[in-house]
Protein backbone atom coordinates (compact mmCIF):
# COMPACT_ATOMS: atom_id res chain seq x y z
CA UNK A 1 0.00 0.00 0.00
CA UNK A 2 1.17 3.46 -0.86
CA UNK A 3 1.66 5.51 2.26
CA UNK A 4 -0.31 8.67 3.00
CA UNK A 5 2.31 10.79 4.73
CA UNK A 6 0.68 14.20 4.93
CA UNK A 7 -2.78 15.77 4.60
CA UNK A 8 -3.20 19.53 4.44
CA UNK A 9 -6.35 21.64 3.99
CA UNK A 10 -5.90 25.34 3.20
CA UNK A 11 -7.63 28.31 1.57
CA UNK A 12 -6.88 29.58 -1.96
CA UNK A 13 -7.68 33.28 -1.61
CA UNK A 14 -5.95 35.07 -4.52
CA UNK A 15 -5.24 38.12 -2.37
CA UNK A 16 -2.84 36.03 -0.27
CA UNK A 17 -0.12 35.81 -2.95
CA UNK A 18 -0.44 39.59 -3.27
CA UNK A 19 -0.01 39.89 0.50
CA UNK A 20 2.97 37.54 0.27
CA UNK A 21 4.69 39.82 -2.23
CA UNK A 22 3.87 42.93 -0.20
CA UNK A 23 5.15 41.25 2.94
CA UNK A 24 8.61 40.97 1.39
CA UNK A 25 8.79 44.76 1.31
CA UNK A 26 7.09 45.23 4.65
CA UNK A 27 3.81 46.50 3.21
CA UNK A 28 1.39 43.62 3.75
CA UNK A 29 -1.85 44.15 5.64
CA UNK A 30 -1.05 42.95 9.18
CA UNK A 31 -4.25 40.91 9.08
CA UNK A 32 -2.77 38.78 6.32
CA UNK A 33 0.43 37.89 8.19
CA UNK A 34 -1.02 35.02 10.27
CA UNK A 35 -2.26 33.29 7.11
CA UNK A 36 1.14 33.72 5.46
CA UNK A 37 2.84 32.33 8.56
CA UNK A 38 0.56 29.29 8.64
CA UNK A 39 1.27 28.60 4.99
CA UNK A 40 4.99 28.72 5.79
CA UNK A 41 4.57 26.34 8.73
CA UNK A 42 2.67 23.91 6.54
CA UNK A 43 5.22 24.25 3.75
CA UNK A 44 7.88 23.10 6.22
CA UNK A 45 5.70 20.23 7.41
CA UNK A 46 5.07 19.09 3.86
CA UNK A 47 8.78 19.18 3.13
CA UNK A 48 9.56 17.14 6.26
CA UNK A 49 7.02 14.53 5.16
CA UNK A 50 9.19 13.83 2.09
CA UNK A 51 6.36 12.99 -0.31
CA UNK A 52 6.96 11.51 -3.74
CA UNK A 53 3.75 12.95 -5.15
CA UNK A 54 1.07 15.45 -4.17
CA UNK A 55 -2.61 14.81 -4.82
CA UNK A 56 -4.20 18.25 -5.15
CA UNK A 57 -7.95 18.48 -4.64
CA UNK A 58 -9.77 21.69 -5.50
CA UNK A 59 -12.64 23.22 -7.38
CA UNK A 60 -12.41 24.78 -10.81
CA UNK A 61 -14.26 28.11 -10.64
CA UNK A 62 -16.38 27.57 -13.76
CA UNK A 63 -13.29 28.44 -15.76
CA UNK A 64 -13.43 25.21 -17.76
CA UNK A 65 -15.94 22.78 -16.26
CA UNK A 66 -19.32 24.28 -16.92
CA UNK A 67 -22.99 23.45 -16.94
CA UNK A 68 -22.78 21.92 -20.40
CA UNK A 69 -21.24 18.90 -18.66
CA UNK A 70 -20.61 19.22 -14.94
CA UNK A 71 -19.12 16.40 -12.87
CA UNK A 72 -19.14 16.45 -9.07
CA UNK A 73 -15.87 14.50 -8.80
CA UNK A 74 -13.26 14.19 -11.55
CA UNK A 75 -9.74 12.77 -11.74
CA UNK A 76 -7.29 14.51 -14.07
CA UNK A 77 -4.98 12.02 -15.81
CA UNK A 78 -3.26 14.01 -18.56
CA UNK A 79 0.52 14.07 -18.67
CA UNK A 80 0.91 17.61 -17.28
CA UNK A 81 -0.93 20.10 -15.09
CA UNK A 82 -0.66 23.67 -16.35
CA UNK A 83 -2.22 26.81 -14.99
CA UNK A 84 -3.59 29.13 -13.84
CA UNK A 85 -5.68 30.85 -16.50
CA UNK A 86 -4.29 33.94 -18.19
CA UNK A 87 -6.85 36.31 -16.68
CA UNK A 88 -6.03 35.00 -13.19
CA UNK A 89 -2.33 35.66 -13.77
CA UNK A 90 -3.17 39.12 -15.06
CA UNK A 91 -5.46 40.06 -12.17
CA UNK A 92 -3.55 38.69 -9.23
CA UNK A 93 -0.03 38.12 -10.51
CA UNK A 94 -0.24 34.42 -9.76
CA UNK A 95 2.68 32.11 -10.32
CA UNK A 96 2.39 29.90 -13.40
CA UNK A 97 2.81 26.13 -13.17
CA UNK A 98 3.66 23.32 -15.54
CA UNK A 99 3.92 20.14 -13.49
CA UNK A 100 4.22 16.47 -14.34
CA UNK A 101 1.16 14.41 -13.46
CA UNK A 102 1.66 10.99 -11.90
CA UNK A 103 -0.57 9.19 -14.38
CA UNK A 104 -0.15 5.83 -12.69
CA UNK A 105 -1.45 7.13 -9.37
CA UNK A 106 -4.20 9.12 -11.11
CA UNK A 107 -5.47 5.95 -12.76
CA UNK A 108 -5.22 3.99 -9.51
CA UNK A 109 -7.33 6.60 -7.73
CA UNK A 110 -9.80 6.67 -10.62
CA UNK A 111 -10.18 2.89 -10.82
CA UNK A 112 -10.00 2.45 -7.06
CA UNK A 113 -12.84 4.92 -6.72
CA UNK A 114 -14.94 3.20 -9.38
CA UNK A 115 -14.40 -0.15 -7.65
CA UNK A 116 -15.56 1.34 -4.35
CA UNK A 117 -18.66 3.17 -5.56
CA UNK A 118 -17.40 6.61 -6.59
CA UNK A 119 -18.32 7.14 -10.23
CA UNK A 120 -15.48 9.53 -10.91
CA UNK A 121 -15.48 11.44 -14.17
CA UNK A 122 -12.06 11.68 -15.74
CA UNK A 123 -10.31 14.02 -18.13
CA UNK A 124 -7.18 14.04 -20.25
CA UNK A 125 -7.41 17.74 -21.12
CA UNK A 126 -7.70 20.46 -18.50
CA UNK A 127 -5.99 23.33 -16.76
CA UNK A 128 -5.50 24.18 -13.12
CA UNK A 129 -7.14 27.35 -11.93
CA UNK A 130 -6.11 29.36 -8.89
CA UNK A 131 -7.61 26.93 -6.40
CA UNK A 132 -4.93 24.43 -7.42
CA UNK A 133 -2.02 26.76 -8.05
CA UNK A 134 -2.23 29.00 -4.98
CA UNK A 135 -1.88 26.16 -2.44
CA UNK A 136 1.03 24.79 -4.48
CA UNK A 137 2.58 28.25 -4.77
CA UNK A 138 2.74 28.46 -0.99
CA UNK A 139 3.25 24.83 -0.02
CA UNK A 140 5.62 23.51 -2.68
CA UNK A 141 7.26 26.45 -4.43
CA UNK A 142 10.09 24.23 -5.76
CA UNK A 143 7.78 22.72 -8.44
CA UNK A 144 9.77 19.50 -8.07
CA UNK A 145 7.09 16.88 -7.45
CA UNK A 146 4.54 15.20 -9.69
CA UNK A 147 0.92 15.85 -8.85
CA UNK A 148 -2.50 14.32 -9.36
CA UNK A 149 -5.37 16.81 -9.69
CA UNK A 150 -8.84 15.87 -8.47
CA UNK A 151 -11.57 18.35 -9.36
CA UNK A 152 -14.56 18.62 -7.04
CA UNK A 153 -17.57 20.79 -7.76
CA UNK A 154 -17.94 23.27 -4.92
CA UNK A 155 -19.63 26.04 -6.88
CA UNK A 156 -22.55 25.05 -9.04
CA UNK A 157 -25.63 23.39 -7.60
CA UNK A 158 -26.91 20.82 -7.44
CA UNK A 159 -24.01 19.16 -5.66
CA UNK A 160 -24.01 16.08 -3.42
CA UNK A 161 -24.61 16.53 0.32
CA UNK A 162 -21.72 16.85 2.74
CA UNK A 163 -21.75 13.21 3.79
CA UNK A 164 -20.90 12.25 0.19
CA UNK A 165 -17.85 14.54 0.12
CA UNK A 166 -16.76 12.93 3.37
CA UNK A 167 -17.31 9.46 1.92
CA UNK A 168 -15.45 10.29 -1.29
CA UNK A 169 -12.58 11.48 0.88
CA UNK A 170 -12.42 8.14 2.67
CA UNK A 171 -12.51 6.30 -0.65
CA UNK A 172 -9.78 8.45 -2.21
CA UNK A 173 -7.59 7.44 0.69
CA UNK A 174 -8.45 3.76 0.25
CA UNK A 175 -7.74 4.01 -3.48
CA UNK A 176 -4.35 5.58 -2.80
CA UNK A 177 -3.68 2.49 -0.74
CA UNK A 178 -3.87 0.43 -3.93
CA UNK A 179 -0.78 2.18 -5.31
CA UNK A 180 2.90 1.30 -5.24
CA UNK A 181 3.82 0.43 -1.63
CA UNK A 182 7.00 2.48 -1.78
CA UNK A 183 5.20 5.62 -2.86
CA UNK A 184 4.84 8.39 -0.28
CA UNK A 185 1.71 10.41 -1.02
CA UNK A 186 0.72 13.82 0.32
CA UNK A 187 -2.71 15.33 -0.21
CA UNK A 188 -3.49 19.04 -0.36
CA UNK A 189 -7.17 19.96 -0.29
CA UNK A 190 -8.52 23.47 -0.63
CA UNK A 191 -11.83 25.09 0.21
CA UNK A 192 -13.47 27.88 2.16
CA UNK A 193 -14.87 28.78 5.52
CA UNK A 194 -17.67 31.37 5.19
CA UNK A 195 -17.18 33.16 1.92
CA UNK A 196 -19.12 35.50 -0.34
CA UNK A 197 -16.81 36.04 -3.31
CA UNK A 198 -18.88 37.69 -6.02
CA UNK A 199 -21.82 38.30 -3.71
CA UNK A 200 -23.17 41.32 -1.87
CA UNK A 201 -21.50 40.23 1.40
CA UNK A 202 -18.04 39.85 -0.16
CA UNK A 203 -16.48 42.41 2.20
CA UNK A 204 -18.39 41.34 5.29
CA UNK A 205 -15.17 40.19 6.93
CA UNK A 206 -14.08 43.84 7.08
CA UNK A 207 -16.78 44.51 9.66
CA UNK A 208 -17.25 40.99 11.04
CA UNK A 209 -14.00 38.99 10.69
CA UNK A 210 -15.39 36.02 12.61
CA UNK A 211 -18.99 35.19 11.70
CA UNK A 212 -21.18 33.18 14.01
CA UNK A 213 -21.10 30.31 11.51
CA UNK A 214 -17.29 30.36 11.38
CA UNK A 215 -17.04 30.35 15.15
CA UNK A 216 -19.47 27.48 15.57
CA UNK A 217 -18.02 25.45 12.72
CA UNK A 218 -14.48 25.93 13.95
CA UNK A 219 -15.47 24.66 17.39
CA UNK A 220 -16.92 21.55 15.77
CA UNK A 221 -13.72 21.01 13.79
CA UNK A 222 -11.55 21.44 16.88
CA UNK A 223 -13.74 18.97 18.77
CA UNK A 224 -13.67 16.63 15.73
CA UNK A 225 -17.48 16.33 15.84
CA UNK A 226 -17.83 14.89 12.37
CA UNK A 227 -21.54 14.02 12.53
CA UNK A 228 -22.43 17.54 13.64
CA UNK A 229 -20.34 19.00 10.82
CA UNK A 230 -22.05 16.79 8.25
CA UNK A 231 -25.45 17.80 9.59
CA UNK A 232 -24.77 21.40 8.55
CA UNK A 233 -23.06 20.72 5.24
CA UNK A 234 -25.59 20.69 2.44
CA UNK A 235 -25.15 23.14 -0.41
CA UNK A 236 -28.29 25.05 0.58
CA UNK A 237 -27.24 25.36 4.22
CA UNK A 238 -23.81 26.62 3.25
CA UNK A 239 -25.02 28.90 0.44
CA UNK A 240 -27.33 30.62 2.91
CA UNK A 241 -24.26 31.56 4.98
CA UNK A 242 -22.59 33.14 1.95
CA UNK A 243 -22.60 32.29 -1.73
CA UNK A 244 -19.02 30.91 -1.62
CA UNK A 245 -19.44 28.97 1.62
CA UNK A 246 -20.21 25.66 -0.16
CA UNK A 247 -16.44 25.69 -0.59
CA UNK A 248 -16.46 24.29 2.95
CA UNK A 249 -17.27 20.95 1.35
CA UNK A 250 -13.59 20.79 0.41
CA UNK A 251 -12.75 20.72 4.11
CA UNK A 252 -15.45 18.10 4.64
CA UNK A 253 -13.73 15.92 2.04
CA UNK A 254 -10.43 16.44 3.86
CA UNK A 255 -12.06 15.25 7.08
CA UNK A 256 -13.10 12.13 5.20
CA UNK A 257 -9.53 11.51 4.07
CA UNK A 258 -8.42 11.90 7.69
CA UNK A 259 -10.90 9.18 8.60
CA UNK A 260 -11.84 10.60 11.97
CA UNK A 261 -8.34 11.40 13.13
CA UNK A 262 -8.09 14.79 14.82
CA UNK A 263 -5.86 17.30 13.05
CA UNK A 264 -2.31 17.72 14.32
CA UNK A 265 -2.29 21.39 13.30
CA UNK A 266 -5.42 23.57 13.30
CA UNK A 267 -5.50 27.34 13.03
CA UNK A 268 -8.31 29.66 12.05
CA UNK A 269 -7.44 33.13 10.78
CA UNK A 270 -10.28 35.62 11.05
CA UNK A 271 -9.15 39.17 10.32
CA UNK A 272 -10.27 42.07 8.16
CA UNK A 273 -7.59 41.25 5.56
CA UNK A 274 -9.36 38.28 3.94
CA UNK A 275 -12.34 36.00 4.57
CA UNK A 276 -11.99 33.57 7.47
CA UNK A 277 -9.42 30.94 6.54
CA UNK A 278 -8.83 27.51 8.06
CA UNK A 279 -5.44 25.77 8.08
CA UNK A 280 -5.55 22.08 8.94
CA UNK A 281 -2.86 19.44 8.82
CA UNK A 282 -2.58 15.78 9.70
CA UNK A 283 0.92 14.36 9.91
CA UNK A 284 1.91 10.77 9.22
CA UNK A 285 1.59 9.64 12.83
CA UNK A 286 -1.83 11.21 13.23
CA UNK A 287 -3.05 9.67 9.98
CA UNK A 288 -1.97 6.28 11.30
CA UNK A 289 -4.03 6.81 14.42
CA UNK A 290 -1.24 7.66 16.78
CA UNK A 291 -2.35 10.55 18.97
CA UNK A 292 0.69 12.25 20.44
Amino acid sequence: MAKLVELIAVPHDPTLPIAHRLNRIGKADPGAIPALNHFETLREKLERAKPDVIVVIGSDHLNQWFMDNMAPFMVGKASRLRGPFENEVRSWGLKEFDLVIDGELARQILKGGLNRGVDFAFSDEFAADHSFTIPLEFLRPQDDLPVVPIFINLLMPPVPPGWRYYQVGTIIRQAIGDADPDKRVAIVVTGHMSNSVGGPQMLRNQVEPLSVWDGETWELIRANRIEDILQRSTFDQLYAVGNGTPGFLGYVLALGIAGGAPASFAELVATTAQPAAAFLEWDEERLEGEVT
Binding site: P14, H61, L62, N63, F66, M67, D68, F85, N87, R90, S91, W92, L155, M156, P157, P158, S196, V197, G198, G199, P200, M202, L203, Y239, A240, N243, G244
Partner: protein
Protein backbone atom coordinates in the same frame (compact mmCIF):
# COMPACT_ATOMS: atom_id res chain seq x y z
CA UNK B 1 -34.39 27.94 -18.64
CA UNK B 2 -32.36 30.77 -20.16
CA UNK B 3 -30.15 31.25 -17.10
CA UNK B 4 -27.63 28.81 -18.54
CA UNK B 5 -27.05 31.16 -21.48
CA UNK B 6 -26.80 34.13 -19.16
CA UNK B 7 -24.08 32.32 -17.22
CA UNK B 8 -22.43 31.14 -20.42
CA UNK B 9 -22.35 34.67 -21.83
CA UNK B 10 -20.59 35.89 -18.68
CA UNK B 11 -18.13 33.03 -18.82
CA UNK B 12 -17.47 33.49 -22.52
CA UNK B 13 -16.76 37.17 -21.99
CA UNK B 14 -13.97 36.19 -19.62
CA UNK B 15 -12.64 33.10 -21.34
CA UNK B 16 -13.32 33.62 -25.05
CA UNK B 17 -11.40 36.54 -26.61
CA UNK B 18 -13.37 36.32 -29.86
CA UNK B 19 -16.72 36.62 -28.06
CA UNK B 20 -15.36 39.40 -25.86
CA UNK B 21 -14.24 41.36 -28.90
CA UNK B 22 -17.61 40.98 -30.60
CA UNK B 23 -19.44 41.83 -27.37
CA UNK B 24 -17.36 44.96 -26.84
CA UNK B 25 -17.99 46.04 -30.44
CA UNK B 26 -21.74 45.38 -30.38
CA UNK B 27 -23.11 43.53 -27.36
CA UNK B 28 -26.63 43.10 -28.67
CA UNK B 29 -25.35 41.60 -31.91
CA UNK B 30 -22.99 39.25 -30.10
CA UNK B 31 -25.90 37.90 -28.04
CA UNK B 32 -28.30 37.34 -30.97
CA UNK B 33 -27.79 33.59 -31.40
CA UNK B 34 -28.22 32.95 -27.68
CA UNK B 35 -31.37 31.83 -25.93
CA UNK B 36 -31.78 34.78 -23.58
CA UNK B 37 -34.80 36.62 -22.18
CA UNK B 38 -35.33 40.31 -22.89
CA UNK B 39 -34.34 41.33 -19.32
CA UNK B 40 -31.18 39.20 -19.59
CA UNK B 41 -30.19 40.80 -22.88
CA UNK B 42 -30.89 44.27 -21.49
CA UNK B 43 -28.81 43.61 -18.37
CA UNK B 44 -25.88 42.18 -20.33
CA UNK B 45 -25.89 44.90 -22.99
CA UNK B 46 -25.99 47.55 -20.29
CA UNK B 47 -23.29 45.84 -18.25
CA UNK B 48 -25.71 46.20 -15.34
CA UNK B 49 -24.05 44.09 -12.62
CA UNK B 50 -26.90 44.50 -10.17
CA UNK B 51 -29.52 43.44 -12.72
CA UNK B 52 -27.44 40.49 -13.92
CA UNK B 53 -27.02 39.33 -10.34
CA UNK B 54 -30.73 39.65 -9.55
CA UNK B 55 -31.57 37.57 -12.60
CA UNK B 56 -29.84 34.64 -10.91
CA UNK B 57 -26.49 34.52 -12.65
CA UNK B 58 -23.83 32.66 -10.71
CA UNK B 59 -22.13 35.18 -8.35
CA UNK B 60 -18.63 34.05 -9.28
CA UNK B 61 -19.36 34.52 -12.99
CA UNK B 62 -20.86 37.96 -12.38
CA UNK B 63 -17.73 38.90 -10.45
CA UNK B 64 -15.41 37.49 -13.11
CA UNK B 65 -17.33 39.44 -15.78
CA UNK B 66 -17.00 42.62 -13.72
CA UNK B 67 -13.26 42.08 -13.24
CA UNK B 68 -12.76 41.64 -16.98
CA UNK B 69 -14.89 44.69 -17.78
CA UNK B 70 -12.80 46.70 -15.31
CA UNK B 71 -9.60 45.60 -17.03
CA UNK B 72 -8.44 43.53 -14.07
CA UNK B 73 -8.93 43.10 -10.34
CA UNK B 74 -8.11 45.69 -7.71
CA UNK B 75 -9.29 46.40 -4.16
CA UNK B 76 -11.09 49.48 -5.46
CA UNK B 77 -12.78 47.47 -8.18
CA UNK B 78 -13.94 44.97 -5.54
CA UNK B 79 -15.31 47.77 -3.37
CA UNK B 80 -17.17 49.31 -6.33
CA UNK B 81 -18.64 45.91 -7.19
CA UNK B 82 -19.92 45.35 -3.65
CA UNK B 83 -21.40 48.84 -3.62
CA UNK B 84 -23.37 48.00 -6.76
CA UNK B 85 -24.84 44.94 -5.05
CA UNK B 86 -25.74 46.64 -1.79
CA UNK B 87 -28.98 45.27 -0.38
CA UNK B 88 -29.36 42.49 -2.95
CA UNK B 89 -30.42 39.13 -1.52
CA UNK B 90 -28.95 35.80 -2.63
CA UNK B 91 -31.37 33.92 -4.84
CA UNK B 92 -31.72 30.73 -6.83
CA UNK B 93 -28.78 30.08 -9.18
CA UNK B 94 -29.42 26.58 -10.53
CA UNK B 95 -29.66 26.39 -14.30
Amino acid sequence: MTRYWLDKSLRDYVRNPDFRERFNANAASALVPRELSAPEISALVGGDIRAIFKLGAHPFLVYSFAIERAGGWSFQMMQDYVNELEGVELGEIET
